[in-house]
């Protein structure tokens, strides 16, 4: 990648405004006055949270914004031609032939009813690059091989749901590049992937760029962008706030929002500090971070939750046996935050279910506050139920859709009646930073962050000794995630409740946890101090995890 040779840009856009009519027919802009160019061999990234307009902007390049959108631009050149005058068939030639689109979640972005081979070959077929079943199949396997899919012959005959997440995502990339496009538009291509898989997918994209393709990367993750993009734009509410070479944007953010975004990323270095409310105008500085309120040290003599040698097997439909947990033991002490880290399939969620008594282990036992917990009748456990509470990853599905917020929080306040219960609900709402008028809302009327706050309020209503948090913020935008994490930290300090904090996010666990347990394939591979363990991993798996972690790698925030 050299700045010296500057070929004609693939895309040259200025003053792009995209708007949709609202219910009353009034146009409402979702992107305003956006300008950028993408040259061959260049990676341009658009960073932003939900609703920032980043995806819409990307899709405008393919004219795939939506039925009644209005797209206006001062300049809209695609491969040198004025795209404002394009008719439908010209647009079809752009799609797949000039620009390929890679989206998030290959499971739904590949047609689940068609084989991988057919999906990959489709663009080539449409653009006449190959004819006949045999030629298309050859092309599909070759393209799969190019993105590093092993055994492409076999894979081409399979369906998306038969492939692992990483292979699936690579197949999606293969489908996007099969028409030999000069531009790749990657919209959140690695979201929801494990760190190690994410690294592989990014390297495939990087390779395409290095071969001369233009790459437009859409992401919410600054660390991902930092590792690949030549230039970056930060968008919020349809407006570009910051743009320029990636290093410049991340190292010296001009706009406060950019700085807030950067500061909201949890890491080892943010441990003990707030992720929100960072520095004011002066400049982003670690010292300007606000410390979290002081908390009592964990009482190592008072275990709240003790798990001994948990084992759990599942029978697979194929007749095999899948080992979810294989001799896992851990202890959570009073006031302690224990992080439980692992990639998907490592057994984290099974641990949570067994701890909560929703699932019986095949072997091993759990004690809650010294009392037998596993293997007991539900009636016998009932008096201890209040002591262990739960914050799920997806609170929406854990709320009865017909219940109001009052009903949901009141679920844990059934000892109270009438007015006092209502008052308690109001108190709890205030505690999690929500206005009283949310009390009558239903789950469907709440945003993701608000739902998570309600889940926290519900857990706290029981006055528990321990809360099991299962990926509590993984579905949230970075800025919202920061607010929820800070809230949890505040409340933990305030109540001294112990937390079993389950996450796949290494940065987050280093920020939040006291101790950490690393799970792989149902076994504990390593445990110890939440920060030290990643600085000096003693197990090779931990080292791999650390290596795969994309990092912002600039002076502003250091992760090691």
């Amino acid at each position: 990648m050299s700045n010296a040779r500057r070929p004609a840009p693939l895309v040259d856009i200025a003053g792009l405004t995209i708007s949709f009519p609202n219910d009353r027919g009034v146009q409402h802009a979702v992107a305003r006055n956006v300008s950028f160019t993408i040259s061959p061999g260049e990676c341009v990234a658009i960073v932003g949270e939900s609703g920032s307009g980043k995806s819409v902007t990307a899709r405008a390049l393919l004219n795939l914004v939506g039925g009644n959108a209005r797209i206006e631009a001062e300049r809209f050149l695609i491969n040198g031609a004025d795209a404002r005058a394009f008719n439908a068939s010209q647009w079809r030639r752009v799609r797949g032939g000039f620009a390929g689109l890679v989206m998030q979640d290959a499971l739904t972005s590949l047609d689940p009813l068609r084989t991988i081979g057919k999906e990959v070959a489709e663009a080539a077929q449409i653009h006449g690059l190959a004819r006949g079943a045999a030629a298309l199949h050859t092309l599909a396997t070759a393209t799969l091989a190019r993105v590093g899919v092993p055994d492409p012959e076999e894979r081409a005959r399979q369906y998306a749901q038969q492939l692992s997440g990483g292979l699936r995502q690579r197949a999606l990339i293969a489908a996007a590049i099969a028409g030999q496009p000069r531009l790749i538009i990657a919209d959140e291509p690695t979201t929801a992937l494990d760190a190690s898989v994410q690294a592989q997918v990014l390297s495939v994209l990087r390779q395409r760029r290095d071969e001369g393709a233009g790459l437009l990367l859409i992401s919410h993750d600054l660390a991902v962008v930092a590792g690949i993009a030549d230039r970056a734009m930060v968008m919020r509410d349809g407006v570009v706030l910051d743009s320029g070479p990636t290093q410049e944007v991340l190292n010296a953010p001009r706009h406060p929002w950019t700085r807030r975004l950067i500061a909201a990323s949890p890491s080892a270095s943010t441990h003990g500090y707030r992720l929100t409310r960072p520095v004011t105008a002066g400049g982003a500085n670690l010292d300007a971070r606000e410390p979290l309120p002081p908390r009592a040290a964990p009482d190592l003599a008072r275990p709240v939750l003790e798990a001994h040698n948990l084992r759990k097997h599942y029978r697979t439909t194929a007749g095999g046996v899948f080992t979810a947990l294989d001799g896992v033991s851990f202890t959570v002490n009073a006031g302690e935050v224990l992080g439980l880290v692992g990639e998907s399939g490592s057994g984290k969620s099974t641990c949570a279910k067994i701890a909560l008594g929703l699932l019986e282990p095949d072997d091993g036992e759990i004690h809650l506050l010294g009392a037998h917990w596993t293997g007991m009748k539900e009636r016998a456990r009932k008096h201890l139920r209040r002591k262990m509470q739960y914050i799920p990853q997806d609170p929406l599905s854990s709320f009865d859709p017909r219940h109001t917020v009052t009903d949901i929080i009141g679920e844990n306040l059934r000892a109270f009646s009438g007015m006092s219960r209502r008052e308690r609900v109001m108190d709890l709402l205030a505690l999690v930073g929500l206005d009283v008028h949310y009390a009558s809302r239903r789950p469907g009327q709440l945003s993701g962050g608000q739902r998570q706050r309600i889940a926290i309020a519900r857990a706290l209503a029981a006055d528990p000794a321990i809360i099991i948090c299962d990926e509590p913020v993984s579905a949230l935008d970075v800025s919202i995630q920061a607010q929820v994490i800070d809230l949890l930290a505040d409340l933990q300090a305030q109540t001294g409740v112990a937390l079993l904090f389950i996450t796949h996010d290494l940065g987050l666990v280093q920020h939040a946890a006291d101790r950490v347990i690393i799970l792989k394939d149902g076994r504990v591979v390593e445990q110890g101090d939440a920060r030290a363990i990643f600085r000096n991993p003693s197990h090779s798996y931990t080292a791999e995890l650390v290596a795969a972690l994309p990092r912002l790698g600039f002076g502003l925030i250091t992760s090691s």
């Binding site: 949709f20 009519p21 219910d23 009353r24 027919g25 009034v26 979702v30 939900s50 609703g51 995806s55 819409v56 899709r59 004219n63 795939l64 914004v65 939506g66 039925g67 009644n68 959108a69 209005r70 797209i71 206006e72 631009a73 809209f76 795209a83 404002r84 394009f86 008719n87 439908a88 647009w91 909560l356 008594g357 929703l358 539900e378 009636r379 009932k382 139920r385 209040r386 262990m388 509470q389 739960y390 799920p392 997806d394 929406l396 599905s397 854990s398 709320f399 009865d400 859709p401 017909r402 679920e411 844990n412 059934r414 239903r442 469907g444 519900r458 029981a462």
Partner: protein
């Protein structure tokens, strides 16, 4: 992301324009008008409601709408074309067609609602039981639904009516029984789905016993699917009744039930169209109205509980 997704999708038929053709206020006005008139979600439920209110009025206070007796007519003035005196004409026995339509609302709605009440009562009960995690019960009731629905609906109703005898009540019972599997299956599937929902599985965390969770969470959330199916089924039941009347197995004369009126009028299709067209329109509109209301009810419920 979720807010955007609905807008981002859809056909790519739009064009990139530099500016709009119309001045802004007019454009807005035209958009708003087209919006209202062509959006079936707004106009259709409104019209459906209006029709249902009219029909309900017919059913509850028929004498407000017509001075004629639906059963009495001047046989000597039979099959009179619409005129000032009988503005929808008279039927084969000289009865006022409009009066029969007005009074018929009570019977047609009665058959429809009665049949659906039977289907709902048994379908919900059996569906809730079948939806439990008891394999034996599930298999048993599911096969029972299979047995009942192995007969095409009309055939089953035919058999039941020969068994029960043709009368308004028996038609409602027969059509109701034929509709049980529909509700049973829907409720069973919904019960299974709700029971696997996190808020039911995790209810024990909040100290709820399984039975308590069943009452508080499962039953109400299962029942949300019932009104939609029930609303649409009322229309279907009225239709089935008219089919049975055609086969001579429906309510007995001189009941001014719409399906029976329609079935009886078919012999005069070429000579006295007014005896059949209007009951036919009444049935069709009512069935459409129920379907439209069911649809908007569904959107309402889905919108509230995504």
């Amino acid at each position: 992301m979720t807010e955007m997704s609905s807008r981002l999708s859809g056909p790519a038929s739009h064009t990139v324009t530099a500016r709009s053709v119309w001045p802004k206020p007019i454009n807005t006005l035209i958009n708003a008008l087209i919006n209202f008139l062509t959006r079936p979600r707004r106009l259709a439920p409104l019209l459906a409601c209006a029709w249902m209110i009219l029909i309900a009025g017919f059913a509850f206070a028929p004498h407000w709408f017509t001075a004629y007796d639906p059963l009495e007519g001047d046989v000597l003035a039979s099959l009179a074309a619409p005129d000032a005196e009988h503005f929808l004409g008279t039927d084969k026995l000289g009865r006022d067609v409009f009066a029969r339509i007005v009074y018929g609302a009570r019977f047609s709605l009665g058959v429809g609602l009665g049949a659906v009440a039977i289907s709902v009562a048994f379908g919900v009960l059996l569906g809730l039981i079948a939806g439990q995690r008891q394999r034996v019960l599930d298999e048993g009731f599911s096969r029972l639904f299979d047995v009942v629905s192995a007969y095409p609906g009309v055939l089953l109703a035919m058999l039941l009516i020969t068994f029960l005898g043709g009368s308004l009540v028996n038609v409602a019972i027969a059509v109701g029984i034929a509709g049980i599997p529909k509700f049973g299956r829907v409720v069973r599937a919904q019960t299974k789905a709700v029971q696997d929902a996190d808020y039911v599985v995790q209810a024990s965390i909040y100290g709820r016993s399984r039975f308590s969770a069943f009452l508080v969470h499962v039953v109400p959330n299962v029942l949300t699917v019932v009104p939609v199916v029930a609303t649409i089924s009322v229309g279907t039941a009225i239709l089935t009744t008219s089919g049975l009347s055609f086969l001579g197995l429906g309510p007995q004369p001189p009941t001014p039930e719409w399906g029976l009126m329609l079935a009886e009028s078919r012999d005069y299709l070429r000579t006295a169209w007014w005896t059949g067209v209007l009951p036919g329109i009444a049935i069709t509109l009512t069935v459409i109205a129920f379907a439209v209301l069911g649809g908007s009810l569904q959107r309402h419920i889905e919108g509230r509980a995504p």
